[in-house]
Symmetry: D2
Subunit: 390 residues, 4 copies
């Protein structure tokens, strides 16, 4: 083990995603036998005070208040972007141009144009790049893909994908950055809808080729969040307008002929983090719900659905951890992601999902928004009374 090569990591952002990425960087080497040993070199955050506290707590050796300095540092070979979507393109392009490897949170960007710029930068840079669709690294999801790849489900006819949360059902929940189009690009669509598009494409190996969509904002005005209050500088304004979708529904076709339905919402009362996917094929089916993330339900022919506890040594990622039945949690998806990223870097190949994969998801998001905006694509049910009909 003495010959392991160290590799410096700089992370931008230290909120929710920063915390979970840190745990992944900190833990990955203890469980996976990696060719590269990550060093948690530097954390960037706008406030030195808060960034320093986060660095001490999360285990980063140094702090920068300007991400540009982080990108330029010689002790940083990997840039990990954990900021809101509006800054992804700028940071990622700068990091790639500086010769760094880049892992970037999803969705890849707030617009297709930004995502295209990132893909172009990735194509011409020496560094490797990856978009952080962490749910691909749930062992059950990876096992699902294996079932499809091995042909055990036959030809896939149906995909049902949902991502259901309920954290903004309360109309008094404030207008945080995820509810503002300028910061987040879109609402449930880009935040969690992007995950189920990627998951569906990953598991089936097919692409979404066309959609028909509806979106809705149920609560249109909300109290300003402290963060917004600071940014808005409007003085007396107590509330602000929600500028993103609360929910997005779409149906569509996949490149392999399957019919698919998607739903992303933050208004599914009682559902906390229900990323669900069900596939029906000519030979079998499978179903998953992240709220029971260690389980994959599989049907092969007539025998009903089997609840597979995805904790066996032969299951994806699971062998590195604990004995069967001793389950994993949310954070492990990130540990697996980092492991795959480090292996790709060491083996000098492109990791998956690449920025190009992220762009493809971005284009689906854009098609959903175009479809939802076009009322002519919607068929009104006749309400003619009987008299009028006659």
């Amino acid at each position: 083990m003495s010959e392991k090569i160290g590799i410096g990591v700089g992370m931008v952002g230290h909120a929710f995603m920063g915390r979970v990425h840190s745990q992944a960087w900190r833990s990955v080497g203890a469980f996976f036998d990696l060719p590269l040993a990550p060093r948690m070199a530097v954390l960037a955050g706008r406030s030195r005070e808060r960034a320093s506290a986060a660095a001490a707590r999360l285990g980063w050796a140094d702090v920068e208040t300007d991400w540009r300095k982080l990108v330029e540092r010689d002790d940083v070979q990997i840039v990990d972007i954990c900021t809101p979507g509006d800054s992804h393109a700028e940071i990622a392009v700068a990091a790639l141009e500086a010769g760094k490897h880049v892992i970037c949170e999803k969705p890849l960007a707030n617009t297709v144009a930004e995502a295209e710029a990132m893909v172009r930068a990735a194509a011409s840079a020496p560094g490797r790049s990856m978009v952080a669709f962490n749910y691909r690294r749930v062992p059950a999801i990876a096992l699902a893909r294996r079932y499809v790849e091995e042909g055990r489900l036959g030809e896939i006819r149906h995909v049902r994908a949902q991502y259901l949360q309920d954290w903004i059902v309360d109309p008094e929940f404030p207008l945080v950055w995820r509810l503002r189009k300028d910061k987040a690009g879109s609402g449930a669509l880009g935040d969690i809808g992007a995950h189920i598009i990627d998951t569906a494409e990953y598991v089936t190996g097919q692409r979404v080729v066309g959609v028909s969509a509806l979106t809705e904002t149920f609560v249109k005005e909300r109290p300003l969040a402290e963060e917004s209050a600071g940014l808005s500088a409007t003085g007396g304004a107590a509330t602000g307008t929600v500028t993103v979708d609360d929910a997005a529904l779409f149906i569509g076709r996949l490149s392999g002929g399957a019919l698919a339905s998607f739903e992303a919402t933050r208004f599914a009362t009682g559902r906390k983090n229900a990323l669900r996917i069900e596939l029906n094929g000519s030979l079998g089916s499978l179903a998953f719900d992240f709220e029971a993330m260690n389980e994959l339900w599989v049907s092969e022919g007539d025998s009903g659905f089997t609840r597979i506890l995805v904790t066996e040594p032969g299951h994806p990622y699971a062998g590195a951890w604990w004995p069967p039945g001793h389950g994993l949690g949310y954070e492990h998806t990130f540990t697996h992601e980092i492991k795959d990223f480090l292996e790709a870097i060491a083996e000098e190949r492109d990791p998956a999902p690449s920025f190009a994969d992220g762009l493809r998801v971005q284009r689906v998001l854009a098609a959903v928004e175009r479809s939802a905006a076009d009322a002519s694509r919607y068929t009104v049910v006749s309400e003619a009374s009987l008299g009028e009909d006659a």
Copy 2:
């Protein structure tokens, strides 16, 4: 009890629906204290031999080979229509004109025009009429409606309705009448899609006002069924064309502002009779799956979902049967339906769902077919390569 008034029933058709309706007519009086005592007077079927055998087995006193004679009989006050959809309108209109009460299997008809004719006949006839959406009579579904009516879920934002079966996944499954447009009107859409439209409208108290739809026929050619072989008289032809949909997906809006998704399919391998509905409201949610028909899952606020075993004395219909925890089966939904129909007749009021309710569902089916047929309503995802974009 001696003063109970008898009421004669004539049933047309004795296949699957005839068998289960018979069990309901036979059992209803032993469990519900009804104002009318149904007599199983006469069964109509085209083959006297088969109809007689069915009558003996199912408990019908007499047999007719022409439904017109059944409709005219003096000992028949109720006509129960258990035939394929192509004959519903003709039989129902004749029965209504003959002064009978009519209960008719769903979907109400094969076209909106036929359904309208039935509604007109019902409006001008003395008899009561009902369309047999039996799933309304699942105790858990009726309890779900009660929750919504009492406002316990608040404003309904989301409806997710699915009806998943798998009985024609095998491409060698024959071309039975349910796969022929001339007999069945449509495929999964009218057969099972109609049920989830009615269930969604019943539980929410809202109407489907607009849709965007996709339909598909996965297996386009099938072996002729014995029944079709007889009808086709083509001699050598071994296969025939499936003229209905195998699956239908649609999203839409309800009159109360909810977003809804619907999926009806006969290609969901491993799902046998999964009529599922989930509602999310501003205060709570509920979920149901007919494959576990005695359970309703309810969330009210933060406490997760409660699995209610819908077998308590205070639950809809349940008190008439067994002690708590001693569940009911599929057939009981029909017994409940018959009970409600007999009570409505005795109380001289229109039962629900009425023919008008059936017509409304028919119009949704028609809108789904119009939407699915119009490719312009579908948004293609850009597949431009990066080079082309640049």
Copy 3:
């Protein structure tokens, strides 16, 4: 069908068991092609008024107020005993001596001596006899037995059997006959414990050979029930003593070497009718809970547990009813029982479970009571303080 031989049935008792047996007699011929056609000839009950009302409602042609007259009637070939346990032996022996076939509710009797008398009577009489352990006729339970018989689970090592109810948790629930030793013999032990003993023996094909037991009466005094009030004739007494167990736990060994645990209780708050059994064998396992009676969970090797919806044509009893996924309810277990009884009569063989099977269960009940009554069989955990130890 015309050659079917009619067979007259007389039923004694018309409470809960009488209602469900009636539904079975009424329905069985419509779903199973039987060699004998049961006629619901006569119902016996002590009050003519109540018996007549029950007969009218449940479909019995005539009424007797003395079961002895029912037993002697020429139009009765089968006697169906639905009374409390204290009268089983007397009625059954009389019916057998009168040359009738007898089906008797469980437990077979209130004592081993009574049960032995019944077995002796059955051995020397021409009629067939059966004890009504209806849960054997749950399709999932019958399928479980098939799995064991076919060796798919290997050598059985563990049996976990529970029957959990909660209907007397409220201390104000009255002292009904099931809580009085003179009528019921025992409490949860004989009422529901008997079912899980029979189910465990039936599914495994092994016998309980030894036990170690605990029983408890949590609520020792209860308000008199109306029925008891009449019987007690004590005038002012408002409450009475519960003379049976509320709960019984026992562990033991089966004849094939398995370890088994049993628990029967009426104090499992929130569990309504949870007859549960789990088996672990050297090759596989299975699990069942009557609260989801259409499901059997099976594990064969490493693949987790499969939820089999026991509604396929090839599953026990299921093919006679509805298409896959259209589940059955509690009452169908009785219909299946009657069907098996009629077939055994027609084929002139002993039905199972026989009175001898009922006696065997009775002996296990007696052993449980002996064990629970003997405090010396119980090992006290040392509570010596450390000082005393030193």
Copy 4:
């Protein structure tokens, strides 16, 4: 944060338990705001090569090959014992006498006498001591205790505790140390039975006061493990005798009057790590299964069981981690344990479960073994034939 006091940790053993304890020491400070900052100072293992490799991988700064040296080091204030049970007493007593705090894996010892010695040492030493019953720190288990403490379940009548695994079902699985009495003390009983005794006592707040037990060794001879092969030095011997139980069942009474059943087995095919507990009280019930560790099922009165996803900010431990619905895994129970231990040290109070709690569990294990060894405590079911009875 700069004022945090560091505290040095020395861990003995680096197999399964050592790996998971290391992850806990490594992670705890990033998620909990602790008064003490643990330093992973030194790891002890008999082989320097293997210990060094483990230390590098798991993040320990130094290595010792003799645990006695670790215990004496000045940079070690906490000794973490992750060895088999036969060395617990010696290491723990030495560490306590050296003035260290001690956390010791369960069961506390291999005999009651050893456990008593440990309790005596703890009583007279300045350091704090804790036995590592990690399952107390499953958020759902801690929430269960809160429900009981708050009286929401009323008086507890029933406890059903099981710990089901299947890792030695295969008779070719080798004779590892956990199957040897000299190393492990007992089999399933001490390894996993100890967990459910502690869990039952912890959740109910009651003690096991008496038991009646059965134990069994299903596979009595197994291939020697490599480790055993090395130790045995017998040359040609290919198999060895299993000297511990494969399964242990016992029923008993708790100090508060509840009836309890316990089952610990390694032969429950298809069950991987099913630590299950169900409680029934006069007002409500709860149920838990570690195979779905983020869920607690609670019934309060009539409304069925609610599946609580134990990931809300107000749930025990959960607020330190991720948003609702983003579940935890097995390892987090250890992180919580370490957190509680560090807080107790800083606050100069005894942590729970203490060595005295571990001794109490040890006494229950001893009572189970005494009961199982005494055949007179077992009631044979009469098998007398009818003829003999007469």
